[in-house]
């Protein structure tokens, strides 16, 4: 048989089989049930049983016709339950959204630096960062749609309420989303196709639109935590007030900064991934530099993040002392010990990366001797920060201590000690960065010695203020102590700004003692970058949980109560399990994003096949393809 006819025969066979199935099914449907003795259907219809069945059916139809519409409050999600399902999807959406919002911020800054310095390396770097955007944007939108549908399906009544309060914001949100897509794809695909200033304008548009989208979504989220603009029964009074609630602006600021830190860390992880797979020194040099810039962005944004956190916490307390104390002293207090371990790990890793990075600069030895002192300071602050007020101990240990509070370590568990530790930690990391920046350089200005002394003096004064106020906090009333964190934070911020300003002038035209050998860094440094990215992601998941879980059994705090089976606040152990699973899912998807992005650099399919086909087909392959 001609093999070419086989597909046709197959198609006919399929059609015949389909017709056969339809015919058989129709026959079965038409065949009525017959009494064994072959009584007619007319006789059967008169039996009381059949009449009863008919009456029941008619009643059911009447009931169905008259059934009033009733709004469902909750629906269940199989296996994991509605809350965990929403939690995981919302978290994945937020993580990708944070990345998509962050990358354009530092891409445009790097592009601008390239434009101003006329150094094409920066332009290439910005382009490389933006390669990660398009796939991430699609995933963000997909998870966003998934979240919306799941909210409508699983929490219809509550979603309906939120939509009724914020109805004027939804259309602008959708329009802005279209604008985001326009700017993002024009920015990415238009790289090198427009005048640099036009391209920078597109990048600016992308950032403005992206930030606006975030601020609208933040209004919905923060309203749930600190509702405003509604009556005590939930009736809408003012949409503007509902948007501009107590925690809206603090969350906007906190998320804006945190997104940059998170985005920088993921971009650095991408560079590390590429570095580890690089085959040439040139590639390694490029991705080492990219990883350094990504990490620089992440840590630069990370340093002021605790201050934004203070602002957010202050506004939570201002809205409701109960909410604030539930967060810091109630059910969630131990969560902040986990947070301390995460942030301490981040600081340790960030410092370690900087210390390893000194090795790639010639003439780093004079600075490397300080590393042990910096490590001691970081480790000490880490330990203080992670010390709980009440110690987990056995009954006999508790008896021996005279209570759950350790007689000495208990002093380190209070806010005064923790504020001091975190501020010193920030100062130490800043010093690590400063030392790294100075590696291989000598200041040549006439006032160099004076500059060093002044910088050291500023450091010392800032550290003294932080420690003094920390100790002073133990001896004053709460109303005074709460206010002490402001001068502590201010001292650190002023010190960082002042020292950086002096440094800029101090190293204006430095004498170079050694050049930076990009790519000459131990491979472990790249794993450190990935560790930082995972830790940032996990931290975001944890803090997302506390922000949302703080409402406890309320959908909208004090207004709409959660009456679902999931109204209880889960244990921290359970919450961390959900966070861990979500983080793993996120990194599986990030791996997919990295893989898709790396396809960009692969040789074209035609070129790959050409190597096989060239000997067979001869000279019909273009010269350029053959070369590639």
């Amino acid at each position: 048989m001609n093999r070419r006819l086989l597909p046709l025969v197959g198609l006919v066979a399929v059609l015949v089989m389909f017709a056969g199935v339809v015919w058989t099914a129709s026959m079965l449907m038409r065949t009525e049930y017959k009494e064994p003795y072959g009584s007619s259907s007319a006789t059967a219809d008169n039996t009381p049983r059949v009449q009863g069945l008919a009456a029941e059916k008619a009643d059911a139809e009447t009931r169905d016709r008259d059934k009033p519409y009733a709004e469902v409050e909750y629906r269940a999600f199989p296996v994991v339950g509605s809350r965990v399902a929403i939690w995981a999807v919302a978290q994945l959406h937020l993580l990708f959204a944070a990345f998509v919002l962050a990358v354009p911020i530092f891409a445009i800054i790097i592009e601008l630096i390239g434009y101003l310095t006329k150094d094409p390396r920066y332009d290439r770097l910005a382009h490389e960062f933006s390669k990660l955007l398009s796939v991430s944007f699609s995933l963000t939108a997909t998870f966003g749609a998934c979240l919306t549908f799941m909210l409508i399906i699983l929490y219809p009544k509550f979603t309906n309420y939120l939509m009724s309060v914020f109805s004027p914001t939804f259309l602008p949100y959708v329009l802005l989303f279209f604008a985001e897509a326009f700017f993002l794809y024009t920015y990415y695909y238009g790289w090198g196709k427009f005048h640099p200033l036009v391209h920078l304008g597109l990048g600016l548009g992308l950032n403005v639109v992206g930030t606006s989208i975030m601020m609208i979504a933040n209004a919905w989220v923060t309203f749930m935590m600190s509702p405003a603009g509604v009556s005590s029964k939930g009736a809408l009074i003012s949409v503007a007030d509902a948007i501009d609630n107590y925690t809206w602006m603090p969350i906007n600021i906190h998320r804006f900064i945190a997104n940059i830190a998170f985005g920088g860390s993921i971009a650095a992880a991408y560079a590390a991934f590429k570095f580890l797979g690089a085959e040439t020194d040139e590639e390694r040099a490029h991705y080492d530099w990219m990883g350094y810039i990504g990490n620089f962005v992440a840590i630069s944004a990370f340093l002021p993040l605790p201050f934004a956190g203070y602002y957010l916490a202050k506004e939570i307390y201002a809205y409701s002392q109960t909410l604030g104390l539930t967060m810091m002293g109630g059910a969630f207090s131990w969560l902040f010990i986990i947070q301390a371990i995460l942030i301490g790990s981040l600081f340790l890793a960030a410092n370690y990366y900087l210390w390893l990075g000194m090795g790639r600069v010639e003439g780093a030895q004079p600075f490397q001797k300080f590393v042990k002192y910096l490590l001691a300071a970081v480790a000490l602050c880490f330990m203080v920060w992670a010390t709980p007020r009440s110690i987990i101990a056995t009954v006999s240990e508790v008896r021996a201590m005279g209570g759950p509070v350790h007689p000495i370590l208990g002093f380190l568990g209070v806010m005064s000690a923790k504020n001091t530790a975190v501020n010193i930690l920030i100062l130490t990391t800043f010093m690590s960065f400063l030392l790294y920046q100075r590696t291989g350089k000598i200041a040549t200005v006439a006032w160099a010695k004076t500059g060093y002394v002044v910088q050291l003096g500023i450091f010392a004064v800032a550290a003294f203020i932080v420690i003094f106020l920390g100790v002073y906090g133990y001896f004053v009333e709460a109303s005074v102590r709460i206010g002490l964190s402001v001068p502590q934070v201010s001292a650190v911020l002023v010190a960082m700004v002042a020292i950086t300003a002096i440094d800029v002038f101090l190293f204006r035209k430095p004498k170079m003692t050694g050049e930076v050998r990009w790519g000459k860094i131990p491979a472990i440094s790249q794993y450190v970058l990935i560790f930082i990215a995972v830790t940032f992601t996990w931290l975001m998941g944890l803090m997302g949980y506390v922000r949302s879980g703080l409402r406890q059994h309320w959908h909208v705090y004090g207004i709409i109560r959660d009456t679902s089976p999931d109204a209880f606040t889960p244990t921290l152990g359970f919450a961390t399990q959900v966070v861990s699973v979500t983080v793993l899912a996120f990194f599986a998807l990030v791996g997919f994003v990295f893989w898709i992005t790396s396809l960009h650099d692969r040789p074209a399919f035609v070129a790959q096949k050409k190597e096989v086909r060239v000997p067979l087909l001869g000279a019909d392959v273009p010269e350029a393809e053959r070369a590639s």
Binding site: S333, L342, K418, A478, L572, G573
Partner: protein, 283 residues
């Protein structure tokens, strides 16, 4: 054998995530349940109210999120040890009951020197204690440094002002009556109650009284007449429809006496850790 870097990265991501997940298992585990709606029976004695009030403060009231008892040093909110001894003299013209009521219903009206304002209005959401629950709380607060005198029939100006509640007309105080705290006629004086008080006529249940079949009258309402005869058992009762996995109470007191009153207050916070793990971090 050289392990591919993708495998190493995957192991690092998995290991880091597992480590943080493990840290999450090391800390004390608490599952916080939403507070149950509580219906206070009308025949609670003052002594019963003290214990019920303490339980409410521990659970639904969230009082000890901020306040302490017997703690000295630098505090964020006033310590409640011996508070009744101070309460009667804090604000001129207010006795201890009126002062406690003001602190609960209008906490911004008076701020204890040295402290910042910050206490929420307790009879409004998110805490939303009922008037009867607040009376129990007041009873407990009176027991801290004083003698509890409040009963469920006691009224104060915040109850009198409550919309929907029948105002309690002033009447000549009986000899030895507490300056504030009015007792409805027909109410059997509870043990430990102030011997007397301003009689108030029977009143409609005030807002906040849980609409239950055997609705407990609001303070100021006369239990006799408005209620079936008081059963011998005393205690709190959950409103209908609220499941009580750990106790079942019939309307006439399936669980009798004070034990029933307290047992039925289902713990809001279930500690899943061993006793040795208990203790929150004070920050």
């Amino acid at each position: 054998m050289m392990v591919p870097h993708t495998v190493r990265i995957a192991a690092l991501v998995l290991g880091t995530t597992a480590f943080y997940g493990y840290v999450g298992q090391l800390v004390p585990q608490k599952e916080v349940q939403p507070p149950q709606e509580i219906l206070i029976r009308a025949d609670l004695t003052t002594a019963d109210m003290v214990t019920v009030g303490r339980t409410i403060m521990d659970t639904k009231g969230l009082c000890f999120t901020c306040h302490t008892i017997g703690k000295s040093g630098v505090l964020r909110f006033p310590d409640l040890d011996g508070v009744d001894a101070r309460a009667g003299t804090r604000v001129p013209g207010l006795n201890d009951i009126e002062y406690f009521a003001q602190s609960i219903y209008a906490p911004e009206a008076y701020i204890v020197p040295g402290f910042n304002p910050g206490m929420p209005v307790i009879n409004k959401p998110p805490i939303g204690l009922t008037d009867q629950e607040i009376l129990c709380v007041i009873a407990y607060l009176q027991s801290l440094g004083g003698t509890p005198t409040v009963t469920l029939q006691t009224t104060h100006r915040y109850l009198a002002a409550a919309p929907g509640a029948a105002p309690a007309p002033a009447a000549a105080p009986a000899a030895g009556a507490a300056p504030a705290g009015t007792v409805a006629p027909g109410a059997a004086p509870a043990a430990g109650a102030a011997p007397g008080g301003t009689p108030a006529p029977a009143a409609a249940p005030a807002p906040g009284a849980t609409p239950a079949p055997a609705a407990t009258p609001a303070p100021g309402a006369a239990p006799a007449g408005a209620q079936p005869p008081a059963p011998p058992g005393r205690g709190a009762q959950l409103s209908p429809g609220v499941s009580t996995p750990d106790a079942t109470v019939a309307e006439d007191g399936g669980l009798r006496g004070f034990v029933g009153a307290v047992a039925i207050l289902r713990p809001v916070v279930s500690h899943q850790v061993e006793a040795r793990l208990e203790g929150a971090v004070a920050r």
